[in-house]
């Protein structure tokens, strides 16, 4: 899926939070990324969706940090190269991205699939990250309360699992190019997600490896998340030395869903900023 050629011939993008990404090449992969703010650098690894946007969450974070949100390979307008099939490949990819950007130590944040990846990065490069924040992360097994199956949701089921029933209030984050194109774009992003997480949907090795994490860690669970069970966030907090678990409750009459990042951007940004600012990159 090529970015620039489709941008050249495709109609103008008019959805509310669309911004034009910048481009870099890391280990031969053309990556679209968005960057705003100043101060300590914060690398935000997004989850499997809500791409091609500068979310209000990012804007809120950019008041306190130099926020970088790369598009994960296979998401947004960024290509999915043949050689990226596993989280191990993504760890090396982000090593290349960070070296290309020349950032030095950074704060690391990941949401959902991005949280799983952030954990892998923190395990692989214990000294590189000043702090680690995991938002409703995937990646550990919880046999008593397994995570919902993200590959079989009807529209209604996806609303329940991802939005806890509130999707109708957030259509501007979901409707981009029209029904068919949006469906095909999500399917294409699904291919990247499938490569990475189809089976197993967790990494047993993390149960041993998370002890390697040196970055001070905050795990944020969204209270009414119907995709990631509380036990999963809790398990990360249990396995990462010194980690704290915070649960964000619902607000303004809405449950705090898996995508509370768009429901409560200020509250989520505050939880992240409060944590990361205790550990300046220095």
């Amino acid at each position: 899926m090529t970015a620039e050629s489709s941008a050249a011939t495709a109609p103008a993008r008019t959805w509310r939070y669309w911004t034009e990404p910048a481009w870099l090449t890391a280990d031969g992969v053309r990556v679209g990324y968005r960057r705003e703010g100043s101060g300590d650098t914060l690398l935000y690894l997004h989850g499997a969706g809500l791409t091609r946007q500068w979310l209000p969450l990012y804007a809120a974070l950019a008041r306190s940090f130099d926020v970088i949100v790369p598009e994960q390979p296979g998401f947004g307008d960024t290509e999915l190269p043949d050689h990226i099939v596993s989280f191990d490949d993504l760890v090396l990819h982000y090593d290349a991205v960070l070296r290309t950007l020349g950032t030095g130590r950074v704060h690391l944040v990941g949401h959902s699939m991005g949280g799983w990846l952030a954990a892998d990065l923190a395990v692989t490069y214990p000294e590189r990250f000043a702090s680690l924040t995991l938002l409703a992360p995937m990646g550990l097994r919880t046999p008593e309360t397994p995570m919902a199956d993200p590959f079989r949701w009807s529209e209604t089921q996806a609303d329940h699992a991802v939005f806890s029933g509130t999707a109708g209030h957030y259509l501007e984050y979901l409707q981009q190019e029209g029904e068919l194109e949006d469906y095909l774009h999500e399917y294409a992003e699904g291919i990247a997600f499938t490569r990475l997480t189809w089976n197993p949907r967790y990494d047993v090795r993390l149960e041993h490896r998370l002890a390697r994490v040196l970055a001070p860690t905050r795990v944020v669970h969204f209270a009414d998340d119907n995709f990631i069970p509380p036990a999963l966030s809790a398990r990360y907090a249990e396995l990462i030395p010194g980690a704290q678990l915070v649960t964000l409750p619902g607000a303004s009459g809405e449950p705090a869903s898996h995508v509370a990042i768009i429901q409560q951007p200020e509250a989520v940004a505050a939880l992240m900023t409060e944590h990361a600012s205790k550990y300046p990159v220095g």
Binding site: M1, V85, F151, R152, W153, S154, L180, Y183, L184, Y187, A188, G190, I191, F193, T194, R195, W198, N199
Partner: protein, 437 residues
């Protein structure tokens, strides 16, 4: 024209689709499966296929369906083995093992070689990719890698059949230090292969490249015609024109005394099938990567495999779109001539068991099919291919005796006081002679 009998082997006693939360594939609770009724449904399914020989079909075909009532046979190879034992000469197609469900394709190749051996050379091999629902059910096969892994698996399997072992295979998906097929198939170079394809261009091209039979699935007739055209164009690139024997059409067929009677018998059962078993949600049928984005765009914009909600199809439209041929013998003859003409199909895969249809009704239709329809497509005598020419290799002692050759090496043992003897005659004192000390 060849006629092959293929059934679903479904377990019919399930809730109607509007009481099913997601789909009857994948996660319909198996508490609905009563083991005792199940033995009868399975027996009926297998028995009807075995009956295909007495009916005079050219072949009988088995299928793989897992994790639900759509079919009770999660491995086509097992049913094929049963049928090989129950029948004498009829061709048997296992259509078939899902290569990606095997940890490595040599396991599949071994089973297939064994089947060809056990059936004495009657085997046809189908190599389905597996539909999307299979990927959900089977868990450890990743749909995003499915096609690539499948074709490497296919290439390894073909090499295992055709190249002397042991050899080492170092691939992207499989590293096998010793590929050494024991037994090897009887048919040379290997049994005929059919590839079921819903329209993936790459699949059709590979099918043409290897001179396989393209098994056209279900889709509305216009989509099948497009696919057959793609298949023919692909074959041109490889320098040949495929014959009708390389196109197999899958059709629900029911025969009765009159068109009206056939409709009376078949309609509720066909609707049961279409409304409960043949439908699936988009996410279940198309896990990401199972089709490419461009293939999916094609299905959604040009119409194709299951493009409209099948449960909303009327009886008339299933006939118009070519899913089903239902009527009196002469109606069925006419329609099959039409299908054959339009698609250039030389093989008809006849689905007779419409889900919940009682076996006595299936056999009634099949008997009419065998006596009134099939002979219209054959030469005088109405013989199936396996009656024209025995597909088996030396099936009697006498025939074996006439063709057998001395092996390169004979079984030997060292007998004290004598030396190394050929054990085959060593029970006879005069023959217990040393070959060497």
């Amino acid at each position: 024209m060849e006629f092959h009998l293929f059934n679903y082997g479904a377990y019919p006693d399930i809730p109607f689709i509007d009481e099913v939360e997601n789909t009857v594939y994948i996660d319909l609770p198996n508490r609905h499966f009563d083991p005792v009724r199940g033995t009868w449904y399975l027996d009926t399914y297998l028995d009807t296929l075995a009956f295909g020989e007495k009916l005079g079909f050219d072949g009988i075909l088995t299928t793989t369906q897992m994790g639900g009532p759509v079919g009770m046979t999660p491995t086509a190879n097992l049913s094929a083995a049963y049928l090989a034992a129950k029948t004498e000469r009829i061709l048997i197609g296992t259509i078939g093992p899902i290569l990606n469900a095997y940890q490595n394709p040599v396991r599949a190749a071994e089973e297939l070689a064994m089947l060809d051996q056990m059936s004495r050379g009657r085997l046809i091999i189908g190599l389905p990719m597996g539909h999307g629902q299979n990927y959900h059910s089977a868990a450890t096969m990743n749909p995003a890698q499915a096609r690539e892994r499948y074709w490497e698996g296919h290439d390894l399997m073909v090499k295992a059949f055709t190249e002397p072992g042991p050899f080492e295979w170092q691939g992207k998906y499989f590293h096998v230090p010793y590929v050494n097929l024991w037994p090897k198939p009887v048919q040379q170079p290997y049994p005929p292969v059919w590839i079921p394809a819903a329209g993936s261009k790459i699949t059709l091209e590979k099918c043409a490249e290897h001179h396989y039979t393209y098994q056209a699935l279900f889709s509305p007739r216009k989509a099948l015609k497009r696919n057959v055209a793609t298949f023919r164009q692909a074959a041109e690139k490889f320098g040949y024109v495929p014959g009708p024997d390389q196109v197999a059409a899958v059709i629900f067929i029911h025969v009765a005394e009159t068109d009206a009677q056939a409709r009376l018998e078949a309609e509720p059962h066909l609707m049961f099938l279409m409304q409960n078993l043949n439908r699936s949600r988009q996410v279940d049928a198309f896990p990401p990567g199972h089709f490419s984005v461009s293939s999916l765009r094609g299905f959604m914009t040009q119409g194709g495999y299951r493009d409209k909600d099948i449960s909303e199809m009327t009886f008339e439209s299933t006939l118009e779109e070519g899913w089903a041929v239902i009527g009196s013998p002469s109606t069925v003859v006419d329609q099959l001539h039409q299908v054959a003409g339009e698609l250039g199909a030389g093989k008809i895969i006849h689905i007779a068991d419409f889900g919940a249809m009682p076996n006595w009704m299936i056999r009634k239709s099949l008997t009419l099919m065998a006596e009134e329809v099939i002979p219209q497509f054959r030469g005088p005598g109405g013989r199936p291919v396996w009656a024209e020419r025995d597909p088996r290799v030396a099936p009697t002692h006498a025939e074996y005796g006439a063709v057998k050759t001395e092996p390169e090496k004979v079984p030997q043992a060292r007998v004290p006081g004598i030396g190394v003897v050929d054990v085959r005659g060593a029970h006879v004192d005069e023959l217990r002679k040393p070959l060497r000390p």
